[in-house]
Assembly symmetry: C2
Homo-oligomer: 630 residues x 2
């Protein structure tokens, strides 16, 4: 998965900036501290005190007389006030003991080669991450992947962790869960009112969900991607041309997960990418995805036709040992598909897709990724790296949506999915791109059919091409809809898409926009816990609990600052009115009067009688109201 | 229509700011000048040189070898480099001669009363707008409204104007119009491939479209609101507590239409609102809507129970004579509906709705708006003011969406629609609010059924409650969807919704977001001209015509500045690569190579033969490709 312009992404080769990096100038600061108005908490899965799952707790004002609200938390230990963070040491390793029990062979790590870091000279080099890291690989005869364990009927610790996490660490069904599920429209997903570890196992075994979790990434807090679960969000990051420190690169990850990215793709290119990737993985609580083809291309000087299977294979192993959790593999771009793109309005817009199309054309032969697909499966299975089968021929414009090239590739991805499953691998499928609203549903329907319900992972889609500068919004519309229809993970798009490199503010805007899309999808699907947060926030709004309203929002800092621009005084934050109506007249206040009136049941009944004498049916009897509302 | 926090809206009563305004400090500057990269043009309707319709022309780089792109233009004379703008004189009056022919009686204007301007003292007063303005009203025996003309089989000048405008001033069907219409899904709208004046008349006569056009607003550039036409966008403005000049108030209008608002609602309260409204209408090329109840409430000191039919009636006439084009009338909030809101999570959130509910409760009697509905029709018909039947009981949270109160009111609005039509009035219907995605479609279906397909005019809807600070996005998702399903006009929501008062930047963001939603809906409905702009922009993108890409976008200034942040040099704006891939490798460049290869048809055929010898079907024959793609 990648967008035309991945985050913070600079092709170092093009820059005229060449800065020598001195190791001694490296700082080790990343963004830490609780998200405003909430506290990081940990909860053990039922019956498993050793499996500790994070959540965020938002305490409400005492006047609310409500329990604190628990929300899903992607931010890792960075928001834990009690955690000590040192990027040189890396994160704690919650999965280490689980992995240790599985009896994988420890192996000597592949030697780092000069080309792994783009032949960076010593003065240009980002240092190696000093965090300790053993390398494991699974043998052919053993169960290695979550898919293999699931098929064998074994519930892994990751599955137990995920079940508790998806329930927002509640130990029983949330009130109204059944009702909410029934109220939603899930287009054939099997969302239960409460997630059990066994349900997680079943979905993984059916191939309908993946748990990207390389056995060399023990720092991971496991997450599941599947349409019976909460919709997930991916953010892309990449190295800067001017890398002043490894911590700066790690902070891009930390910043993205702080605002809600469930997974992060590292799309770095150029120099130092091996070492930077190591810093990122050792400090990442979320699954890290990459496009190994990008690094392979770097190793051949950026010339697609020089790519070989051997170089690509070596790159897979290099990244596998580091602990990358999922790989985008563009094996669906076959030689025969290339002519289908010739008459397109915008040709091939995927970087991976155009690299492979270029290679196929230059050599006049079938893609080496397609021809070596089983070999790729064998490698990825060994480390339990999930496939993210790339959509190299996705449409890059409204004009090209749902065309022959796109769907021909999708059919190939369906074939490949079955091969990967047979090899024991976990698989998800990447999707478009640019699609007008009326053509979105067909993408999901076809993907589910062709790919045996393997999870769909889409970029947007953008629902119009006419708003560069606002493509987080053009695509947020498509993302919410495709998430509702069945996409399991949404790859974010920032406001800088098509125009330039996103900065810190753009990344936050992109992540928040996609959290909105994912949550809107969860609500529409009837995810049983999704509406709890909306309801809590709406009650806070109705009761003028301003601080609760800010704290319950996706971005408390922005909500608070927008409010304070207009009503800066402390008194206004506790006042029972808003900036619109002022203290004298207030819609919400009138509603409270109405509610009080209605609660005086006898009063209502009496009034009804009075008015019925006059031949009007002015009040509906309270019982009728109850019947309609309940 | 209003949101909880209308734009630039301050309840003067709550402010502790009390600034005396001196007429001599008034400036008369508003935002003028062409939108970057385009020119304002005018085109006469076929056969009617006197009916001149505006559009914006975006010229492309000569290398494109394409005609200039024509886009719908809402911005009025303000973007015409040749227009001389003087807010004291008001705009030219394109409708004056059309109205003059209709033989309406000129009447003496109602005297302005002190309460019309909130009892502003001389020192606090915004002066009267000096622009010349005669007042007309239509007699009972004459045809007055566009609906009456349409029913009588008469095509008005407004209808001719609108037909040409909806076709983006093309004089024949755009290429591929039939195909695009067939490609879309319009849910029962009757979108033709080319709009004729007769088609406009038919849609107005059926009540499926309205042309808000007060006979006292000759400055208007007519616009149609109906689901067989382009989806329209409304922006709300309102007076500031600190009004330094009338031009400042006019500039809010000018700024909103510059970015694409098709209509503007003036939701001002407090002092000076009569005079400010006059400045706005005399300088407005777009329909102006108001909620007369707000001003009526001002006249009784902000105390709902003091409202009377007489005060309300007088306010209607006051605003009608000024030239307001549509009124939000909350006549659907009946006494019997009030108890239905008692158990809601967020009660009544509409300001108009809560005023009327409060009045009904205080007096224990039926709404005076409901009881006097026919009288209201008689007044509005006289000036051809369109009804916007308010949804005073719209849901204010996901929890309250599609509830008994909301739908009971909608049924009442259906009754009222039929009464208004019988009286000769034009009618549209306001809709929610806060609705999760899976409940949006039902709103449109029920509205069309209950209200005889009268145009729907919705606020958002917001698809989740958890993102204050980003409610332009939560609602942009819902707006795009409901626009696709059949909403004719979308009321914008700004990032400050629920939190505070939008500033200039928020208004622009809100309007652009809603233009995205409306355009995404037009594409999905298969509006025959909608995709022309997407295609032109996509071709510009593919061919690295950066300036064309910026100029074709909804916000050229932002697109250009985002690009320049990363690639500031002039050379990069003409370079054939992007910031991601750099000059050496480029997806788009590879696509061009592929296209060139494919165009060498013989070459492809030969390659196919070569590979078929090896038993692979590597190339699809060009004929097959053509068949699939064309």
């Amino acid at each position: 998965m990648l967008s035309c312009f991945p985050s913070w992404f600079v092709e170092v080769k093009m820059g005229d900036i060449s800065q020598n990096l001195k190791p001694e100038t490296i700082v080790d600061q990343v963004t830490t501290g609780a998200i405003e108005g909430s506290q990081k908490r940990w909860s053990s899965a039922p019956g498993r005190p050793d499996i500790r799952v994070p959540y965020r707790e938002i305490a409400l004002h005492p006047s609310a007389n409500e329990e604190a609200v628990r929300v899903y938390d992607t931010s890792g230990p960075y928001t834990d006030e009690n955690a000590s963070i040192d990027v040189k040491k890396g994160l704690e390793k919650p999965r280490a003991s689980w992995i240790a029990q599985r009896g994988f062979a420890q192996q000597k790590a592949r030697d780092v080669k000069p080309e792994d870091n783009g032949f960076a000279s010593e003065m240009q080099a980002v240092p190696v991450c000093p965090a300790q890291h053993d390398v494991y690989s699974g043998a052919q005869a053993k169960l290695v992947t979550q898919y293999e364990f699931a098929k064998a009927g074994i519930i892994t610790e990751e599955m137990i962790y995920i079940a508790h996490r998806e329930n927002a660490c509640r130990e029983k069904m949330a009130e109204g869960s059944e009702m909410r599920r029934a109220d939603g429209e899930d287009f054939g997903a099997s969302i239960p009112p409460f997630i059990t570890p066994e349900f997680v196992r079943e979905e993984v075994a059916r191939g309908r969900a993946v748990i990207p979790a390389n056995i060399n990434h023990p720092e991971l807090e496991p997450v599941i991607i599947g349409r019976s679960f909460l919709v997930k969000v991916n953010a892309n990051i990449g190295n800067s041309a001017v890398t002043s420190s490894a911590a700066e690169e790690v902070d891009k990850l930390v910043w993205a997960i702080r605002w809600g990215a469930d997974t992060v793709m590292d799309l770095s290119t150029g120099r130092n990418i091996h070492n930077i990737r190591d810093w990122i993985i050792r400090n990442s609580p979320v699954p890290i995805g990459t496009v190994p083809l990008y690094q392979a291309l770097e190793k051949v000087g950026g010339v697609p036709e020089k790519l070989t299977w051997e170089i690509f294979r070596d790159t897979l192993i290099e990244q596998a040992e580091q602990g990358v959790d999922y790989f985008t593999i563009h094996a669906g771009v076959r030689l025969q598909h290339v002519p289908l793109t010739a008459k397109r309005t915008t040709g091939i817009v995927s970087r991976g897709g155009s690299i492979m199309a270029s290679w196929c054309l230059a050599h006049h032969r079938e893609s080496f990724l397609y021809e070596h697909f089983e070999d790729i499966c064998d490698i990825m299975r060994q480390y339990d790296i999930s496939f993210s089968l790339g959509d190299g021929l996705r449409p890059g414009s409204i004009a090209d949506a749902n065309d022959a090239a796109q769907f021909a590739e999708l059919e190939t991805l369906g074939e490949l999915t079955k091969i990967a499953w047979a090899k024991g691998c976990q698989v998800m499928i990447e999707g478009p791109g640019h699609v007008p609203m009326h053509k979105i549903r067909a993408n999901v329907t076809k993907q589910l059919k062709e790919c045996g319900e393997a999870p769909f992972y889409t970029l947007g889609p953008l629902t119009t091409d006419i708003a560069p500068g606002y493509d987080h919004i053009t695509s947020g519309i498509g993302a919410a809809m495709i998430g509702w229809f069945g996409t399991a993970m949404l790859c974010y798009v920032t406001p800088k898409e098509h125009l330039g490199l996103p900065d810190r503010s753009d990344v936050k805007t992109g992540v928040i926009t996609y959290r909105i899309a994912a949550h809107a999808a969860d609500l529409a699907k009837g995810h049983p816990t999704a509406q709890l947060r909306d309801d809590a926030l709406s009650r806070a709004r109705f009761e003028f609990r301003w601080e609760d309203q800010f704290n319950l929002s996706l971005d408390p800092d922005t909500a608070r600052s927008f409010h304070d621009e207009t009503l800066p005084k402390q008194a206004h934050k506790t006042a029972h009115f808003c900036s619109m109506c002022g203290p004298k007249f207030c819609s919400m206040k009138i509603s409270h009067d109405i509610r009080r009136e209605a609660e005086r049941k006898e009063g209502m009944e009496q009034m009804k009688d009075v008015f019925q004498e006059h031949g009007h049916k002015l009040y509906v009897p309270q019982e009728e109201v109850d019947a309609v509302i309940d």
